[in-house]
Amino acid sequence: MTYGQFLLVAVLAVPALGALAVATVPRDRAARLVGTVAAGLALVPAVLLGVGDHNWFGYGPSPGVRPWHQLDLPWVPGLDLRFHLGVDGISWPLVVLTALLTLLCCGYTLWRVPAGGGSGRALVALLLVVEVGILGTFLALDMVLFFLFFEVVLLPMYAIIAGWGGADRRRAARKFALYTLFGSVLLLVGVYTVVAAAGTADIVALTGGAGLSRNTQLAAFTLLAVAFAVKSPLWPLHSWLPAAHTQAPTVGSVILAGVLLKMGTYGLIRVAVGVAPEGARWAAPVLGVLAVAAIIVGSLVCLAQDELKRLIAYSSVGHMGFVLLGVATLTTTGLQAALIGNIAHGIITGLLFFLAGAVKDRAHTGALDELSGLRETAPRLAGLLGFAAVASLGLPGLAGFWGEAFAVVAAVRRGGPLWTTLAVLAAVGGALTAAYFLRLLRRVTHGRPSPAVDRVGPGLAAAELTAWVPLVLLALAVGLVPTLVLGYATGPVEALLEVVR
């Protein structure tokens, strides 16, 4: 086993063993500590995966996926299932983001377990299981394995919402589970459509179409795209999201928005576009129109929204619209914009949900009508909320800018009446995004303090700052040095598009 393969296994094994350890430690606080340590240990191999030589060596025509490290073991020989993992410039930033956000969430749980009945120990264990599922999804290079990891996430996330969520949590959790399960069914059918037609489930071999007939590709892309559209979520398949976010505990929302949605966009790029390029080209205009509809509709709904967490949840619909627009252009610029938009959204919306949770915990309400004047009573919290909102509305110089602006640039580059119109509408959506975030800030932070906000003290707990500061710094760092994310992505994206064209 090489060093890289060891890292690949370690990234998955550490949180999995951590979850087991948490379950066996009897005392609650000690168990949470063990879980946090495990999450911290998982971050190490995740980061190390990206360090080192990234050249690809091989013979014959270069494939569309050129992993830096890979591990390919037979798993169920009878069914020709393989345990095939690999990492490259497209997946690595997401892997690191996942490991980081899980660590921050576990650390946060060390300080505060959300009210609602469940023990902190179980919450940490579930967070670690979710982490294993998400990381596995990003690392899998076998379609069946991808599907399995994709599904591992579902039930623990259901349990997190249903166990530690708000007043209406059971309904929201049920809707989340059933709706995304519906997407998973389509994913399963799509995966087997491809596997049956191609005779292999190896993503490396399949990328580029691998001799699939046009009709198979169209069918497979439709199935896979709808499945991933549910997860991303793409309008109009988004309606599970607001309920789940509003009811989920803070850490649940952070993981959900920060990385869970990224499984959809990642799957779209890696699996759907890679495996069925013909279908992707065919469906690109539809995808683009839906993405722009998501941007506009998401922003307008936010503009009329009156609950803090719900507003942020809907903002995700708009932001993922920009990511999907980037993917839909099927250009290098667009895919790179999608990748950095993905990461930026994970960082910024993660931060926004942390802050919204902090506001709700203190004021005991999330209704915008009952919140005002936060900058008078808690200037630091208001300042951080302002920073996150400004980052999220795509201020140049912060992380959110690159994904949004270059999705527009990519659409302009694509040219033609359709894509130019889409670019204009997406840019208008950017202005609407500013409108609703400014409205949010005006309602929550400005003015005289409302009775609910008057109770809020100015202090922030050290644990809160520990959880938020890395995200603030990352939003700034990715904004100023976008090569942090994109530096390694150029090669893989070009390789992918080479075989797709």
Partner: protein, 642 residues
Amino acid sequence: MSATTLLGALLPVVPLAAALVGLLLPPDGGVGRERSRRTAAGLGVAGAAVALLVAVALLVTLDRPVEASTTWVDLGGLAVTLGVRLDGAAALVAVAVTAVALAVQVYSIGYLRRGPHDDVDVDHRYPPYAAQITLFTAAMLLVVVSGDLILLLVGWEVMGLCSYLLIAHDRRLPGAPAAAMKAFLVTRVGDVGFLLGIALLGVSAGSFRIADVLAHDHSTGMLTAACLLLLAGVAGKSAQFPLHTWLPDAMAGPTPISALIHAATMVAAGVYAVTRLYPLFVQAPVALAVLGVMAAITLLLGAFAATAQDDIKRVLAWSTVSQIGYMTGALAVGSPSAALFHLLTHAAFKALLFLAAGAVIHGVGTTLMSRMGGLRTTMPVTFWCTAVGLGALAGVPPLAGFWSKEGVLAAAESAALDGTGPTPAWVGWLVWLAGLLGVAVTAWYATRLLLRTFFGATRIPLAHPHDPPAVMRWPVLLLAVPAALLGLAGFDHGFAHRLLFPTVPVLPPGEALLVHLAPALLVPVALLLLGAGLAWAGWRRDPAADPARALGPLRPVFARAFRLDDVQHALVVRPVTALATVVRTGDEVVVDGVVEGSGRGAYRLGGGLAALHRAALPRAAVAVLAGALLIGLAAVLIGAGA
């Protein structure tokens, strides 16, 4: 990297560093309030002072345009660079920006101190305020030196953010948050166009570096579209019709902030950005013609709106709108150097006017001119400084504004009469005539402001106004110097040479092209005397009454700036809000309704089927038999078929 480019790079980096440190200071102070306030003020002043030194050093060392850049990020073959592009104009504007910023930082120390009119719980939260000014300065300097369109956009939008933060700073004004939001949002709407314009240019040139964009041979249609789109952003930032509505409302910000926004940053950025890309605009005369029409409308709109305001800051705000109209007018008739010259003199006299107005407001505790009057004797320093500023604004020779405005008018005249501009002659006529009319109106409202504030009898007998303390007096006094004399720099060969656009060939020796001494100079002077004389005559008849009463029925229309705010509200704000409500309802009822409905439908279907299965024994037995019969029948039929 040469020393010059290093200076250029340091220009935004120094204040940025100071701003980031300043933002980390405790915002409300608490126990160590006075100490954190001192630290913040020191940091702000130091940041601006060092930036000013860097800018001056740059101005001195820069002998020819230089450029340096390094790749920032490469997105699919579109290069985004981190780089500076330095020329004489950039260095001069940088000096103006940093000088005004320094004056504002020093002045703010005195202005944002708890005064006798404040109630007990006022807390000015100085550290974030000072840091935001510094960030604002850094952003503007980034726009000034940037050699890349995306980098320029960074500074451009960070300025929008800083204006938002600073306008909302004063927590005692209930209108401030709304004004701040309006400022950010209106400029952001313009920036939709700006981003698309940049995208078009970048995609066409394959790079966002300004040098590459200028060197590329763009197709005419694309160029016209891109320039028109860029103008939307310029209109937003530089408060040009129809996106000018945010600027007067922005008066809710503290007065030093108004000075900063109006004089050196923000509104200057739009004009400056056009001069940066001027070779492109020259190739797109349609865009320049649109700019000329916009300029003429804005120029007169702002001037007329200024005549009827009672709030001293709003008079100045509308005068800014009008003066920026002169600058964009100069751009439209093909004279970026005249625009930049006016930009520089305007920076001096408008900063002076706002800071002096701040002293007045500080002294009498109100912004309304109807409650001032007779301050000449009690506030002599402020009076003389305001007089110099207003003289420069109106264009009294030999003050700064006279020469620069004359440069604009001369450019428009020659475009109108000789067709020298890049646009058709009618654009020249439009700008020229609007500019001349604007001179008279400007003189009228400047005279009115001076008379209403400083002459006549006092209308607030109880107050004891006096000149401001030294920390506020000195910035005002020092700004009066360039406001008075900067116009004469137009005769200086070196100064003119820096402002003249690189496209202008070698200057004939001995000729200063920024200033024209010709008989045509007498026309604006005559119009100036006419406007000032009318205002004086109106005031003379009844010194207690407002000369604006002469406007008659037009007065309320001018006071509300032709009710364009209402138009904007009716045409944009309300439809978007209504649409948002409709879309939200549609999303919740229709899109989610289908989902919930399918869930409920499945549940009901299941319930129905379950009810069918809960049957009594006879019916169940019949059903089983019927089923068996059906299967048997099917088996027989299929068997027979096979």
